[in-house]
Symmetry: D2
Subunit: 336 residues, 4 copies
């Protein structure tokens, strides 16, 4: 309440709280009175109170998520994809080109990915592009190539769906549905993915707060699909030396609240080839459960995001480096 | 090129540019050589060159949009909706509740909106909510109420679609399809709206650059729907005294590049009742073609966004104020 | 407290609060217990509690400022500068070149400023420049030119000080000490300005929250100088179509908390000549007490910030426009 | 140039470029003409051209810094402080309390810092505080305690100066002058530190771009002091789960341009005790030359920033962890 709130204004707020079915606790302080509200099962919208006379500010203290929390499930979720997994003891490496461009390209990259010991292959068949005139991906053709890669190399396929139709197709050909940063709050799509038998890799939106990201996961889980992998891929800030600002603090922040595994994408998170290896090392050191890395057999000819793709040689060096770091990092205890 | 780039590195870059079908212009400077690239019809991805040896930086100079530009159409687009319009001489006012909650609520608000002389009624039937547990709108039931409002008061209906199914429904019951900030880069949805006979009101994304926003409009237009209204509704910044930071500079910035009309949303743009009127005045003073205003007959009982909704009285005062400002603002000449 | 906090952990927190001399109010809720702390005279650092066992989060509810508040002084402060003022009924216009470059330039601009009816002349003698190799201002020579302008045209001089020595000099030659955005948290300089007999124009820092800005004013006032004018000049965001993002919501936000007058700087706030007039109009419409405008007799030859300077003709048109808007804007009541 | 720029407008721009003493290169393209400007020794302010008729946009391609660049000095600078150094093969660890609070506190922490093998002790005697009513440090008294710590433990002292007087004092009692984030563009202070015999640890500003940060270092170096250590300490973004967003990409970004060493501050960079260790590990993994860590013997009683201070035990574990990571990280080659 404001410092000059009247008794009557305070009583009015207490009455409104009660009318809404909650308990109100008036707390007279040295200079002003605070009113605490309890008894709510979910979150109460603070805006209910903000414009009542005499109210200075209305602040939410509890969080509106449930299924993603450690309160519900204290040990970390291990998302299993056949005989591979994300969130277990082994570092999960998901590597491949930004976009599937041809069978030859996909197989050349998959060969190196398999050789590195990674278990997951990534590659876009449906590409979200800022411009309608940019290359939009090979579509179902690309998915078929990915299915061939799976067959040939035993790699699990992670690929993006942009809409309901895309989820149908990914379910037919791949192993993990990727939901991109621009779709993190496409709530229809989150619900559709929540009804899928496949695990979901949910990228953080460019300007998503931690709560919004976790609530997007909650959307998926609230439909029954508990296999959600979170992916930090950089946020939009004023800084212009990177495409996005990779927010590695998100990894321990998620860990403190949620049982869901988290992977880091240093390729989109930086946008520059020369930064991918250092930030991949940092991602493992901060405690991520895995990495998503863009690799291309001919980065300078890539149809999208060539500037950030590693060459096959750079990729192989990176895998060796991050494995060494993973070994020395004692995993932070859940909830730590 | 880097200051220490060799002749050979420079030649290699010139060669790659030529191989891609463009013209390369080497420009030796005092300390380093620049290479300009021309001859491209659309934009060239600068990343093609960034990792070549000796290259210091690769910068895009031209913009990748076409249909939205003043180059293509020098006079401002007037979006006509029956006998009303956005982008003409009259200030367009789009007012109504955040969500349609009941027939009684919609009619009470519509009565005031009609009385104010506004021509457009807004109200959400499908609500994008951060939490899966929050009120999600009345769905088709809400659209039917909106259609009744149209019938009873002659107001044009502006309402949001969240997915393809939603666009189908909005086409059946309403006049303008609103695409929300969280869907600004939902490219499937943009294309669907681009195939609709209804005008599209396209909100700027929370972290959208000017180019990304204009390219989202370009997506809609590239499918044949040229009736796009842009809406500035605040961006996400570090500032916490508002829900979003209303970026009014976007209005003259769009005007300098594009023929599309722009409206301003001071309700979402601030999130606080007491700020809506001053920022609405500012929006008109900066040269916007219209305003979207949230109004509620009982804001303290609103099911969503109550903190920012105006009472009917506040709304009527606001309309009088902004009309007075609109009269004194000499419209900036297109391209100004 | 966390949902699984033990009785003992709760008791420990209650004990620590009491040891610090405050009152603790345990508030058992449906799923967890909250503990409210009252009895503090100033703000309590929430970090005292955050790491105690069982604590989920520690949130500050009260604000740490005093002198700037409407609680202390309910009517708006009018800062008087001789026979001119900022914060009164008249719109204050502070105009002039970014930097004083020569006597001829200063007089050419001052002539137009005087003719427009403005009462304040701005011009930098000490320029804060990002690069050590850029023009840094004429120093005392520039101040002497400003003093001549004052003499010749009766304009009050507003000019920036970068350090203690600069404040000494500004006190000798000018009327209002400007503290720039980069120095908003230069606490030594704030204290020095707080001991000056001259009013202080305090620009908001590029990334300053509302609280930080108001606390910077509190620094000045805590030394005894109550004549503080706040200036919104744009914040740093991801948006690149302007040099800064002018945050006009800051005007009503300050007004709701503080009695200090606020002016708007659309020149630095946008960085582009063509945006200055629309954003100046918006600044007046949102309720600012004044404007700071960069004007140059030959903008294309300006030694700093030429891109944003208005020509004399543009400036004169702008003054006419904003005066017309100021007349129709009913001033928002203080605290509104 | 704009697509519809006339021959005459193009000629006018060419003429202005020549008048300014540069060379102009017209580059006719498919849809518009570009004009490249070369021959400048330093950077040319793009604003000179932006408002000329027919000009669409004016873009700076070269950077305005010199002394900090690898062009000038291709190998990394090793800043020597007596027998310790920053930028060499060994990881530099700078640890201690946020503020020096008492002799007992400083000695208790220094004992642990020494035992860990770190060579640098940090502790603030002059504290920049957002509120004028918060604890501002012990001043000279604090510096004397730091000098005693140096004497007793052989640790090098790193401590902040807020103004010229502070630099005088730090020179008398300590080994490295820290310039804080809020003073990164306090150009008077940068110049004063540039005339000091002591090395300077320059923190990145809360909203500083890479260029602004490097130019702040250039200010110090342009006065003759080449011993500058850069410190990434987090930037201000929309994200609220940390006090600042630690931007670890800054480390490889600086490395690609500059020879100056870079350290990382995970304490201010996160603001939360539980995040310090993971982000410290990440900082070393990304390739930083050192860490600054806040440690307190009784964090819950700290007079400032208690929430982020490590206990002595946490600190010792962290040092062991980061040393293990440092061993496996192959240092990125300079310029890599």
């Amino acid at each position: 309440m404001k410092a000059d709130a009247t008794e009557r204004e305070i009583d009015d707020v207490l009455r409104v709280v009660k009318e809404l079915g909650f308990r109100a606790h008036p707390l007279p302080g040295a200079t002003r009175t605070a009113i605490a509200v309890t008894g709510n099962q979910g979150a109460v919208d603070p805006s209910h109170f903000e414009n009542l006379p005499g109210v200075a500010e209305s602040i939410r203290v509890t969080k509106p998520y449930k299924l993603i929390t450690l309160d519900l499930r204290p040990e970390k979720t291990v998302v299993r994809v056949g005989d591979a997994c994300v969130g277990g003891d082994e570092l999960a490496i998901i590597a491949g080109p930004c976009a599937v461009e041809s069978r030859a390209q996909a197989f050349a990259v998959a060969e190196a990915v398999r050789r590195s010991g990674a278990r997951f292959f990534r590659g876009g068949a449906f590409k979200p592009r800022t411009s309608p005139y940019a290359f939009q991906g090979l579509g179902e053709e690309g998915l078929k190539i990915l299915a061939e890669v799976r067959e040939a190399y035993g790699l699990k396929i992670v690929t993006e769906a942009l809409d309901d139709h895309g989820v149908d197709m990914v379910e037919r050909y791949a192993d993990v549905i990727q939901l991109g940063a621009r779709n993190m709050q496409n709530f229809s799509l989150l619900r559709r993915a929540g009804r899928s038998p496949l695990p979901v890799l949910l990228k953080r939106g460019l300007s998503a707060t931690l709560d919004e990201w976790l609530l997007a996961a909650e959307y998926v889980m609230s439909e029954g699909n508990y296999n959600v992998i979170l992916c930090e891929r950089g946020i939009r800030t004023f800084a212009q030396h990177t495409r996005n600002t990779l927010d590695l603090s998100a990894v321990p922040a998620v860990r403190r609240i949620s049982h869901l595994p988290v992977v880091v994408d240093p390729s989109h998170g930086t946008g520059h080839n020369y930064m991918v290896a250092p930030l991949a090392r940092a991602g493992v050191a901060v405690g991520a459960d895995g990495l998503i890395i863009e690799v291309h057999d001919q980065p300078e000819r890539a149809l999208s995001d060539g500037a950030q793709a590693l060459t096959l040689e750079q990729y192989e060096q990176l895998v060796a480096d991050v494995r060494a770091i993973h070994e020395v990092v004692t995993p932070a205890p859940v909830g730590g």
